[in-house]
Structure formats: structure tokens, C-alpha cells
């Protein structure tokens, strides 16, 4: 078959692969553009570049998603994004747990207390809010990149009805030309997803319906 293909294009006059990529837009305020685009798709943006904002932002996310717990897979998620917290049950973070849960009580004063529970993947279907950290964000379209790496998986960010993504301001790129210059395809894991807003469909009379098979709510928290 390959020979057939080779023979078919043997005589083809090709053009050189173009070198210079066309211009992609630049923004004076990429955060504002990111926010505008994300909100256009039905996503919710929070600015928590001031670490002290984080607890209030999380409270709001949980309220809006009607959740009392957040699930995530990445041990360093909260440390990395500057959320001050105390582990109530540190030994539970030992290796082998698939998912950690974060019990959040609004009435509690800082520092926030975390409970960790063991969860099997089969129980994921019951999770109402999950969290992950975005590898990259793109202002042009209000998108974030979800990376699958060792110790993490594909499902937690897609099964629950609500998902919150932490995006560090330094990882926010201007446009897609920048994104695809630096997207580490296949380097760290088997899957990457460029996420732009919540799951949606327009298959019925082109009427937009938010939340089909994936999250109905997408929150992005920008940290510094």
C-alpha cells in the first residue's frame, strides 16, 4: 500500500513547506483578552494573582458548582498556586492513592484544612468538582492546556460536572502560534487537551447547549 501511495505522488510537483508562519494577534493586555474569550465560551474567570484572594475565589467556585469537596490528582497543585493550607491527615497523602479530596468548610478561618480520602477511579462518576493545573494558557482564545502526566490521568478533568483549572500568569501565552511552538506533544505524557470553555453542543437546531458529556462548568483561576 505504501508503494502505491509512493508511486501516486512520485511525479508530483510539490511546493516547499512554508517557513514563515502567518502573523497571529498580539494583545497589550493578554489577561483581559483571555478573560474575554473564556467568558464568551461560557467559562468563568477568577483573578487570584494576589494569593490572599485564593480562599475567597475557591469559596465562590464551590458555591457556584454546588460542591463541598474538590478532587485533584496532583499533590503539589495547591502549593504551586500559593494556597496556604494545612493537612489534617498527612499520612493519607502517601503513595498509592488515586485521588485526593479536599474538604472545604467555609466557616473555617485560614489556613484551610484538607482532609484526604482514598478514592477508587470507579467512584469518579460521583465527583462534582475537580481541579487541575494548566500547563499553558492562550489569550487569543481563552484556552488552557490540560496535560496528562505520570501520577495523573485523563478522566478526572472530564467526568465531573464542574472543573476548576489553575493557570499561572507566567504560563499565559499570547496566541496559538506561540502555543504550538512550545506545546510538548508526547514529551511528558500520552495525552494533552486544549480546553476552551465548558463542554457544549449545537447538534439540535444549532441551539447552543452547555454541558454534554464533559463539564458543564469551567472555572479558570489565574494565579501569579
Amino acid at each position: 500500500m505504501l508503494e502505491k501511495v509512493r508511486r501516486a505522488c512520485d511525479q508530483a510537483e510539490g511546493v516547499e513547506l512554508p517557513g514563515q508562519s502567518p502573523q497571529f494577534p498580539q494583545y497589550t493586555d493578554p489577561v483581559a483578552k483571555f478573560r474575554q474569550e473564556l467568558e464568551r465560551t461560557g467559562g468563568v474567570f477568577f483573578d487570584a494573582r494576589q494569593p490572599k484572594e485564593l480562599p475567597a475565589v475557591l469559596t465562590s467556585v464551590m458555591k457556584q458548582s454546588d460542591s463541598t469537596e474538590i478532587y485533584w490528582e496532583d499533590e503539589q497543585l495547591f502549593q504551586r498556586h500559593g494556597l496556604p493550607f494545612t493537612l489534617r491527615n498527612p499520612e493519607a497523602f502517601a503513595k498509592g492513592f488515586l485521588v485526593y479530596s479536599f474538604h472545604f468548610r467555609q466557616e473555617m478561618k485560614l489556613p484551610i484544612l484538607l482532609n484526604s480520602k482514598r478514592y477508587e477511579r470507579s467512584e469518579l462518576a460521583r465527583v462534582s468538582l475537580s481541579a487541575s493545573s494548566a500547563g499553558l494558557g492562550v489569550a487569543e482564545t481563552g484556552s488552557v492546556v490540560h496535560e496528562v502526566r505520570s501520577g495523573a490521568g485523563r478522566l478526572l478533568s472530564v467526568l465531573p460536572p464542574a472543573h476548576v483549572v489553575f493557570l499561572s500568569e507566567k504560563d499565559l501565552l499570547m496566541n496559538h502560534a506561540e502555543l504550538f511552538r512550545s506545546l510538548p506533544l508526547g514529551q511528558y505524557g500520552s495525552a494533552l487537551t486544549l480546553v476552551t470553555g465548558p463542554s457544549r453542543t449545537a447538534d439540535i437546531e444549532k441551539t447552543l447547549v452547555i454541558g454534554v458529556h464533559g463539564p458543564k462548568q469551567l472555572f479558570v483561576i489565574l494565579t501569579s
Binding site: M1, L2, K4, V5, A8, C9, A12, G14, V15, E16, L17, P18, S21, P22, Q23, F24, T41, E73, R121, A125, E140, T141, G142, V148, R149, S150, G151, A152, G153, R154, L155, V158, N175, H176, A177, F180, L183, L185, G186, S190, A191, L192, T193, L194, V195, T196, S199, R200, T201, A202, D203, I204, E205, K206, V209, G211, V212, H213, G214, P215
Partner: protein
């Protein structure tokens, strides 16, 4: 043989279809135009994408090999399928070997092209379409009528009735309720199916990455839960570099749905790796030829394979807008279907496709990779006539008519004589300046619109007499 002309009357008379087409296509076109007008260098992007495609197609074998190498390195397996039957057989064999009873599927036109669902059904393997539109047509036991929006021909009411009848949904006309029902039902399937089958939008040769664009997250689930992922792709879907994706995605998404970006673009590099918590254990990439290398061999027609399946040419096509997708009787509809179908299959099997167009050229105008669809249609028409003439035992009537016509047109005197004769002959068929010719092709014209009679004198006659005046 597919006869589009036998399907048009019913399509035009179907009031529901006409309403659905009008409503949905105008919405889609509007969003597409808005999204495109937002990009000042749209033309530059089109040309860039076209150049990448032209280059890639001229070295397709090399890029496919590179892709295979990278996919294998990452623990995936590449299957070369020369025909649809070979691709289907591979899926069946794998499903049998793994004793799989249920498969979840992401939207894949290639799967439609090879009629995979029918084969799976015959083998008693349950195949569940998970894209909402695709699921709707599966429930209705119909084929997709649009390459991007499979259930575009159906109204909300019709879909609701279908869900009530087939799924026992509580009566509701609400799109949200219908979607909820599908979500709930589909969850079960996602969690119990052991194979996920998807299409492919792009495959990046340099990294071995499969790119799948979607909005619903059904693809994300199909490639996350089941233990096996099979990706089906036509050999023309490979692109050389990751960096080209910026341009292709921008063109594809804006052309297809008028969004600035789809909800999810999946980049998949083989099966799950050590330490990853989920994802398929096995990954198979089926590279399908099924007539493509034949198209590749023609210098002019090769550009057909540059198509990225955005569906914009369907939305803008005046013919598609009026007859919808099913009337084409083929997997691919509209202008792209009109040029793809007779080439993938044969001109004999699809002799009318190239003619089901007014050659208005709107398709070329919107095509994000600048495929010269109207010119390809003309080339295919030439080929249809060439084949027909070669195979026919007698000179076909139309060919004869054209020969006589050319014979007349090559001679000013014959041309003038014909004009005079027609003016005499038409008196038998004239009525108030209109002609009533009861034979083809004029009767077909007259069925729908008036045909003017020839005026008493031609321009040549009038002009020469006016020149003689002082």
C-alpha cells in the same frame, strides 16, 4: 448507481426538511462569516494551509512512514488498510480477539465511509455513537446528512419525539432536556465499553500525534475510559509539523462552526504510559487508502485530498441548502461530496455528483484550503463524458446533440440558418411570446419557468440593418 436526480423532488417537497435547512444553515453561515471577518490575514492563512497540504501530498509516503515510526515508538500500532473492508476486518478481528461486546464511537466520517457500524452490528457487537448529532441519526437509523452536523436535517421536535419513542424520555421539546437524557444514557456506555473508536482531524508526522477536535467531550471520554483506542484516519490527514496546527485549527474551527476555538482539541500520543492513572492500554492507528492513492495520482485532482472536512462548502452551497445531505446518497455531501464521491468510488457509481452543482463557486470562496471545487467538478464532468462515450455501444444522445451543436457553431452560415429555421419552427409552439416545447431538455425547463420565444430578428440582423442606415 447513485441517482441524485431521483432524490431531489422528495427533498424539495419535504417542508420540514426545508425549514430545518433554512434555519440551521443561515445560523451556521452567519457565525462562520463573523468568525472569519475577525481574522485580518484570513487569505494568508488559507494560502499557508494550502501550501502545507500541497507539499505534504507531494511527499505523502514519506510523511506516513515518519508518522508510523513515531506512533510505534510511543507504543501504538499502525495498521495499513488499502480498502474499507480491510479496515473493518481489523476492527472486527480485534474486537473478537479481546471479546469485546460494546464499542463507543466518536464522530468519524471515515467510519461512515467504510460502513463500520453495519459490520459491527452484523457481528453482534454493540457500537454506540457518542456524539449527540451522530447518536440522533443512529437512533433514527439514518445516515448523517452533514459532515459536521449529522442531524442537521432534524428539528428539535423530531429529535424530541425520537427520544421519547426510543429512549422513554419524558415528553419535552427542550434541547437541554434532550441533551441531559443523552448525557445520562451515554455515561453508562462510556463506563462499560472496552473499545473507543474515533476519527482523526490531523496527524502530526514529526511527533506521532493524533489530533481530534470536538465540543462535547465524548471523544475525551472515548479515549480515556476504554482499554483500547482505535483511531481511523484517511492517509491524507497527516501534516508535517506541530507548528502548522496553529493555522489549521484556526481555519478549521472558524470555518466549521464559527467558534474561535472548539471546546476540546485532543492531542494523543499513543497508549497510556507508566504512572499515568488512566487512558487506553492499547492504541491502534488505522491508515486507510480506500481510493485515495488513485486521487493522489492525478496532478490536478490531487488537491481534493487537501480537504480538512470543515463543512463550510456544504453550508454555503445553494444546492445543498435546498436538497440537504441525504439526497446526495453518499457519505460525503455537498460540494466536497460531489467531488470526493465519484473519485473515491467511481464515476460509473456516482455519475451525477459532478453535475449536481450550478458551478457558482461559493464553495471555493469559503474553502479554508482553497480547493478549486468548481474547476474539479468541470474536470470530473469531462471524465464522466469520456467514460460514458467509451463504454456506450451507441453514441449517447447528449453527445450527439453536442456534436451537432459544435458543428453548427463552427460555421457562421449554419449558425445563421439554424436561427432562421428555429424562428419558423417555433411558431408551432409559441403562445404569447412563450414557448411550449414538449420535449427534452426544454420540457424540463418549462415545467418550472417560462421560456421566451426567439424575437423576430437576431442581433446580427438588426445590427447589419442599422449599420446600413445613414
Amino acid at each position: 448507481m447513485i441517482r441524485i436526480s431521483a432524490n431531489t423532488q422528495a427533498a424539495l417537497a419535504d417542508q420540514k426538511l426545508q425549514r430545518n435547512l433554512r434555519q440551521t444553515l443561515s445560523k451556521t453561515l452567519h457565525s462562520r462569516n463573523e468568525a472569519v471577518s475577525d481574522v485580518p490575514n484570513w487569505e494568508e492563512l488559507r494560502q499557508y494551509a494550502r501550501d502545507v497540504k500541497t507539499h505534504t501530498l507531494s511527499r505523502l509516503a514519506d510523511y506516513l512512514l515518519e508518522l508510523e515510526g513515531k506512533v510505534s515508538e510511543q507504543g501504538g500500532r499502525v495498521i495499513w488498510a488499502e480498502t474499507g473492508q480491510e479496515a473493518v476486518q481489523f476492527v472486527l478481528d480485534l474486537a473478537h480477539e479481546k471479546r469485546v461486546a460494546k464499542i463507543v464511537k466518536g464522530k468519524s466520517m471515515l467510519s461512515e465511509e467504510i460502513h463500520l457500524n453495519e459490520s459491527l452490528e452484523r457481528a453482534q457487537i454493540e457500537a454506540v455513537e457518542t456524539d449527540l448529532g451522530e447518536y440522533i441519526v443512529q437512533l433514527a437509523t439514518e445516515a448523517p446528512s452533514h459532515i459536521i452536523a449529522p442531524a442537521l436535517h432534524k428539528s428539535r421536535g423530531e429529535i424530541a419525539d425520537l427520544f421519547v419513542a426510543k429512549l422513554g424520555m419524558a415528553p419535552s421539546q427542550d434541547a437541554v432536556e434532550i441533551t441531559k437524557t443523552a448525557r445520562k444514557l451515554m455515561r453508562e456506555h462510556f463506563l462499560t465499553a472496552r473499545i473507543g473508536i474515533t476519527g482523526v482531524n490531523f496527524a502530526v508526522a514529526e511527533t506521532g500525534t493524533i489530533v481530534i477536535v470536538e465540543n462535547e467531550a465524548n471523544v475525551r471520554l472515548s479515549v480515556s475510559v476504554p482499554e483500547i483506542h482505535i483511531a481511523l484516519m484517511g492517509i491524507e490527514k497527516v501534516i508535517p509539523r506541530t507548528s502548522d496546527l496553529a493555522v489549521f485549527l484556526k481555519l478549521l474551527v472558524r470555518s466549521a462552526t464559527g467558534q474561535t476555538m472548539s471546546s476540546y482539541v485532543n492531542f494523543l500520543n499513543g497508549p497510556r504510559r507508566n504512572g499515568e492513572l488512566d487512558g487506553p492500554r492499547e492504541f491502534y492507528l488505522v491508515l486507510l487508502d480506500n481510493g485515495r492513492s488513485k486521487i493522489l495520482a492525478d496532478d490536478f485532482l490531487r488537491q481534493t485530498l487537501a480537504c480538512i472536512r470543515c463543512g463550510a462548502c456544504l453550508n454555503v452551497c445553494p444546492v445543498y441548502q435546498r436538497i440537504g445531505g441525504h439526497a446526495y446518497g453518499s457519505t460525503y455531501q455537498g460540494p466536497i461530496g460531489a467531488i470526493l464521491t465519484p473519485q473515491l468510488r467511481s464515476l460509473e457509481e456516482a455519475p451525477e455528483h459532478a453535475y449536481a452543482s450550478s458551478l457558482c463557486g461559493a464553495c471555493y470562496e469559503v474553502c479554508p484550503v482553497k480547493i478549486e471545487i468548481p474547476h474539479i467538478l468541470l474536470r470530473l464532468r469531462e471524465k464522466v463524458q469520456g467514460e460514458k462515450n467509451q463504454k456506450a455501444a451507441h453514441l449517447p444522445f447528449e453527445k450527439l446533440a453536442m456534436q451537432v451543436w459544435a458543428w453548427v457553431m463552427c460555421s457562421p452560415s449554419r449558425y445563421a440558418r439554424l436561427g432562421r429555421w428555429l424562428r419558423i419552427l417555433q411558431k408551432n409552439f409559441e403562445e404569447n411570446g412563450k414557448l411550449k416545447l414538449p420535449f427534452p431538455p426544454f420540457n424540463r425547463w418549462i415545467k418550472h419557468r417560462d421560456l421566451p420565444a426567439l424575437p423576430a430578428r437576431s442581433f446580427k440582423e438588426l445590427y447589419s440593418s442599422s449599420e446600413k442606415q445613414p
